[in-house]
Symmetry: C2
Subunit: 250 residues, 2 copies
DNA sequence: AAGGCCGATTCCGTCCAATGGAAAGGGAGG
DNA sequence: CCTCCCTTTCCATTGGACGGAATCGGCCTT
């Protein structure tokens, strides 16, 4: 459109506006939004008005903005999350009841794991992940499972980039990462000790679609150090197979 | 933009495109989308390209379109669903374990209930609702609870419109609806026998935010007829109070 | 092999909707 | 009263959006 030195499309702007609602920010003013999306206030104001009209955003009592129900409703039809979530929930519950630890299900998105379902254990370790949260592939147990089962193109792309560290235990040498990935493919599970947080440990296994391909990673987060983390693996496998069976029936 | 005999904004078009993904349709072609959204193919094609670039839509192997993970991720930050969902899930599980019936949590959106969480009971009645599904306020137990606790403006608006029937039991006389709403306010629960489906019965109670206002309705769906549906009410109340307490702690 | 059909994709001349700086309006705080 | 910050409205400008038409490509029928 006119007068935009930027030369962006409306869609880009809208996406930046929506994307400004990250975790932890539940309500924003128009000016906040404009700053976060790097748009002139007047422009933000107009676009926001339209988005509110469409229900993608909502205004609360003091005129602040929130992500709207309509958006949630549309998103609830996203097949990669919805079918998976519904199929997996009962098994996550079993697993969580049995282990009393954080239990989570993640899918691959770009170079991150996106967690689509999570059951937390009240008395357990701090868990950094959230529903709708992300972690880089190389640093999380779920991520390693997904990366190990992804195309070699993605693997090389991740290996070529610098690997950010969260703790001193986070693998950041390409060689070590290659070895880890080979281990995941061989053992069909992975144990990550303190990669994200020194006090936590992740154990994850792949979840297959009925056709065979890996569609998600199922993991638990337990305190670090813990004795015999391998005890969780068979439970994870059982749950993962259950999810695969449940996916067949839809 | 130019040449549009319609005179619609880009946002409107985008929303129509996204809205074309209703329940049951998981993947659509560009032409399908164009038809559903009532847009020229060329226009749909261009917009879709941008949406895919932004991650709001995804293309599968045979170029068909699905709702993208990015959209789901943004929507997962919608506070009215997310906080509620996380707070409510443990209580829904308890309730579902105790009753072995469909258990669901709905919020008010427009003149519908939108179900934001649902646990289904494998062996139980057919349940018409889905996660992300809707039912009209006057015909469902959750809807009546929400309507009874909504502003009188909304109540009058619903009463003024024709009330569609699902079965012969669905209330469709304004007088009867007024009486039902008064009953909900008096008893703090409602029992709906066969309003949606002759073989199903809904029982629902309000869920209050810590500040006191009603933010959701919690309900179970049981076979119709069932003896003593009142037996479920105290369990529902307990769970609803638990959710309120859980909402305080965030 | 040819023809027909349908969907995806690209082109490109037209032109109006989107843009955003500026200014006015509103309310909280000092 | 003044300041500060946010919201909302105005409006002249113009470049991005538009969409009919053409092309490409796959699949089915004859």
């Amino acid at each position: 459109m006119a007068r935009s030195p930027s030369g962006e499309s409306v869609v880009e702007r809208v996406v930046r506006l929506l994307g400004a609602f990250e975790r932890d920010v539940s309500a924003l003013t128009v000016s906040d939004l404009a700053r976060r999306a790097d748009l002139p206030v007047a422009t933000a104001h107009r676009l926001v008005g339209e988005l509110v009209g469409a229900g993608l955003l909502e205004r609360d009592a003091d005129r602040r903005l929130r992500v709207g129900l309509r958006l949630w409703e549309i998103a609830s039809h996203a097949p990669r999350t919805q079918g998976l979530r519904e199929a997996a929930l009962p098994f996550l519950e079993n697993l969580q009841a049995a282990t009393r630890q954080h239990t989570q299900l993640g899918v691959l998105d770009g170079t991150d794991v996106l967690f689509v379902e999570r059951l937390s254990a009240p008395g357990s370790v701090v868990n950094l992940t959230r529903l709708g949260g992300r972690l880089p592939l190389h640093a999380s147990s779920s991520g390693l499972v997904l990366l190990a089962n992804a195309g070699s193109g993605l693997q090389e792309r991740v290996l070529a980039e610098p690997l950010p560290r969260f703790t001193e235990h986070t693998p950041h040498e390409p060689e070590r990462l290659r070895a880890l990935l080979a281990g995941v493919r061989r053992d069909h599970h992975v144990v990550c000790r303190g990669y994200i947080h020194s006090d936590a440990m992740g154990i994850a296994v792949p979840v297959h679609a009925p056709a065979g391909e890996v569609v998600a990673a199922l993991g638990v987060v337990v305190p670090h150090p813990s004795e015999n983390p391998g005890q969780y693996v068979s439970g994870l496998w059982t749950a993962a197979h259950g999810i695969t069976r449940a996916l067949r029936g839809r």
